[in-house]
Symmetry: D2
Subunit: 345 residues, 4 copies
């Protein structure tokens, strides 16, 4: 099993390297980088050290260009490239490799929504039909059959896992009001002043509220697939974490449901899912799932309002972890291969 | 002008010491502590150093017992003691000193609400009539005439400043949905495992949602004074900041209001208020107001929903800063005396 | 293979749980706790979740008392109990289980040194002869044969790995001057005001300098075993990390050595050691080894002085990771079983 | 009194703005910026808010170009520009304004040392004779008479304050071994990946050791002025603080000195200095002096070795605070005007 990473030197790429180092089914890893091809991976990523040396020894432990990777014919390609770049760079792999695209390029079916969010035409719209939205617990059976998996964004993952079971059950109505907190790695490895240590340390606040955040379109489309009548209002916040995401979501119940009924909806939805943990009576915290692929979720009822709480690691279940989970499902590996179910201290 | 602090060694007491050191009208400070009376203040609080030495030299720069403070007949007493303790310890000062009580003991008029929040009878209910709720920008004229000022909680301050002008203007209806983020100092200097560095670092999440947080009662009472018909749903979150608080609030507009109309409501409400800064078009961040007495506020319209954003320093405008602002108003000092209008870097 | 943990709810115990969950040779885990016996582990440690459920199902996934663990006859016992308690509580296991003691109780041979550091008589001095100092890379052959392994402290591990090869080679003389930085978890899960988030955030500084820190005795004894003539001067510092330790060490060269000669000393000493990484020309940083069992080390020559740099995770190679490495060596498992060679992002 | 800031949008410029807002003797502030001239200062620096509006109303509260500032004929110019740029940009002010230069351009007398550290010729060497090294407590009388004050670096300030009194007293010999920890703002507002939140959070380690750090030359020159025979070995470290610096320094005593004798040396040296606080028996921590202009210092004796400990805020006493202290001294203002003697919580 040969896995390639496009964009190995960004944060999602770095986490992919670590997960694949631990993955017993992946025997060869091809780490790609357009800007640093030819460099030794262990030098470029000192934290990784030699953990991938064995699995990348065929290519000298070096970062590879896309062209080199194409020639290696990988079984699976993880693209950790930016949106609007990813679809183009992945083109040579469509048809020969399974592509798990961590960018937004294939996440949104509605071209209008895509245009509104990304200010460009959707790249390769002809492939959208073949792409599956890689929210593993929701689209597991489609993922098994697809060669183009659009890995969800972090905010959508943290939001949809608690919302979709209720929406599918017809248990909620009106507005889905999402407030979410994200660690700084969610912005990627961008050298913008806004993400400097001194600017984010001891700092917190909302940004891009309502439909001004790009993930709004992605979430809205998924929520509407479950229940056309629901509205979405989303406000993201940056908080001083490297990794971690917490969503607090207010929804209105269609009729009174007691805690047991709510728990049953979730248990039914996530039965046999190793990475979703339902914690009635305890509000999950981001450190519970640090560096893991887990999503913990819980709720609080107050009158006819239900508050939902979920946490993920934005680089784990919110990006690279889920990408590997998608590979596991697609290739029939044990779903937990290479992935942690516990949060680091 | 002689000012006493009860509870000097907690976080709000420590910040009071620093503000009073800078205050040009306060010539003498009496730092009180029941547990460490007799100790040198500069030893107990090394960060303060000798900044209060001059103003506390009459009593040898030492922490004083309540009895010693009573004998000194302070003009103003700041009580930074815990709720249900504060009212009792302050008793000897009622009638002789102006008392600014940073605890919850006199914040809530409705005894039933108090009981629900604090699981005890309100202490000294006979004084409630005389107490004023010390949200400076809202109750300035009452504060000028009162000898018992109940300094607001941090969450209520961050919530009420953006909500009350709209509520008073009859511009909103239905549910006021508050999601707020707090720095860890909001919990006080409690040696609980939950507030250890390792447990809060790289950690974030909601706690005590809905009406289970004590500040809910305080906020609800104030919102209902402005508009009986509004509902409140409040969810606090802990984020890894020492100091800082951000509130994100969703309200429903009664009728369509454009940005200019909203700005006008706020400008009218806070005209001449040195510590409220309206920042149309920019969502404020907690570091903007770090170690200051400022509240920055802004909004985002989305359909008929208005998202409100406010930030304060929970130990500044959310506690000790507002306490000194209350003293300034009550004694006719310039309102900014001893208080910062800028946030620290 | 049955492994028990005494003191599962402290930080080192929590990390042990996680490592053992990943360990392919350990099929059963007995999590002990004197204070919370009977509680469900996944409730007490929500971050761990159900990761140990399979391996602890024989005892219902619950925390066990020491008495219960004794009855289970574990193959190996990890004691994460405090010093002066650990030796006593471990007593029933001596002779029947391999004991890896993470406390200081069996680390120091010289009773006088122990007394000076811990202000008490060494407990169970009769066992000291049988105990081996579990610094894996240095005492591997002794560890293979021992049933009582005294797992080293974090500061000693970070210091001795770069110092001992030079000391054994006779390459240095005079004073070994160690300045080390530690994350806050090094203090354990103590609910002292000094370790509260607000007191450690944005705070750094030295503490217990020179021979006033307990780890001084442990380090000094080991350095003197390698070269009687060396002096040790050690200053620890607390910095705002949850996990991580960096040592910066100045030593005087006996004669001029070029970089190649120094590198050779280290390569010879750590040939075949999967957890020591020599990084000539790059000063390692704590995040390189976060949540791993790795020690990275490097140096800088300046005149006749050699500056040594090493980093570990104080809960990884500095505690629980090394404890499992010791088990791996003792039981003949692959040395890296259950342990990471990469640092988390 | 008119004060200009060159480089208002960097971290030292931002702190200067805040200090000057509080300074009772400075009635007008001219905030300069080459890149953002014409922008409103309160928009560019939202944390500052309107705190400087009054003092900058003559020029519309806007950032000014150097040319505009020249026309305003400021009494004092603070240059917070990068080294090798600062001397050139300040040229029009020499002779008409007092210049406090926070860059390194005039700190080093020895042109060879400058060249080695900054890889360029010293700019404007003809002015070096007139420049005074602005370490206030050491060169107070020279500062009073100088129109060109070279404000010291942060590492030199933290190192020289504890070292120089001992060196001048002839109490130490041999090597001065400095290990210092710095907050991330010490690197300035550089958008380099190395200073991103995610790269520095949970990360610590040494960098540029020995004479490879630029501040080495500056420190060495000052130490040699006091005692030609002393050697310097310096290792800086980055730790995850926004602001703060701690130095731990090992020196060898010429003869045995007891604690009283050491304390006397420091008391004599810093008698009447409001910003140096000697704390025998307590090792100072960076948070003690956060956002203040204070340096706290202490020591520990161990055999013939003396460990010195000092802390400053790298942006306070280590940069902008000391710059204003220099202005205060030069213009005969009270030395503490605008500056804090307490650390923020």
């Amino acid at each position: 099993m040969k896995a390639a990473i496009l964009g190995t030197t960004g944060y999602t790429g770095m986490v992919l390297s670590r997960i694949l180092a631990d993955h017993s089914e992946v025997t060869e890893v091809l780490p790609g980088s357009s800007s640093q091809a030819g460099e030794k991976l262990e030098v470029v990523d000192p934290g990784l050290g030699t953990a991938l040396s064995e699995k990348s020894r065929n290519t000298g432990g070096k970062l590879l260009s896309v062209e080199q990777i194409v020639r290696e014919k990988p079984d699976v390609v993880f693209s950790a490239l930016p949106h609007l770049t990813s679809a183009e760079v992945c083109a040579p792999f469509f048809g020969t490799s399974v592509v798990v695209d961590l960018s937004a390029d294939f996440r949104i079916r509605d071209a209008g929504l895509f245009r509104k969010a990304y200010k460009e035409e959707p790249p390769r719209p002809e492939l959208l039909e073949k792409a599956v939205y890689g929210l593993c617990e929701i689209y597991r059976s489609e993922i098994k059959r697809s060669d183009l998996i659009a890995n969800p964004g972090c905010y959508p993952t943290a939001t949809l896992l608690p919302v979709l079971p209720l929406a599918r059950a017809g248990a909620i109505r009106g507005r889905v009001l999402v407030n979410a907190l994200s660690g700084i790695s969610g912005a990627g490895r961008k050298t913008s002043a806004n993400y400097l240590y001194v600017e984010r340390d001891e700092n917190s606040g909302a940004y891009n509220p309502g439909s001004t955040h790009r993930h709004h379109a992605e979430m809205a489309e998924q929520i509407h697939r479950a229940d056309r009548a629901l509205d979405l209002l989303f406000t993201p916040h940056l908080v001083p974490l490297s990794r971690g995401m917490a969503a607090t979501i207010a929804v209105e119940l269609v009729k009174e449901l007691d805690d047991a009924a709510i728990e049953k909806i979730y248990r039914d939805a996530y039965d046999g899912c190793p990475f979703v943990r339902i914690t009635p009576g305890r509000i999950p915290q981001t450190k519970d799932v640090l560096a893991s692929n887990r999503c913990d979720l819980s709720w609080h009822r107050e009158g006819g309002i239900l508050m939902l709480f979920s946490v993920i690691d934005n680089l784990g279940k919110g990006a690279s972890g889920q990408a590997v989970q998608n590979m596991n499902i697609r290739f029939g590996f044990p779903e937990t291969s290479g992935l942690r179910t516990y949060g680091e201290l």
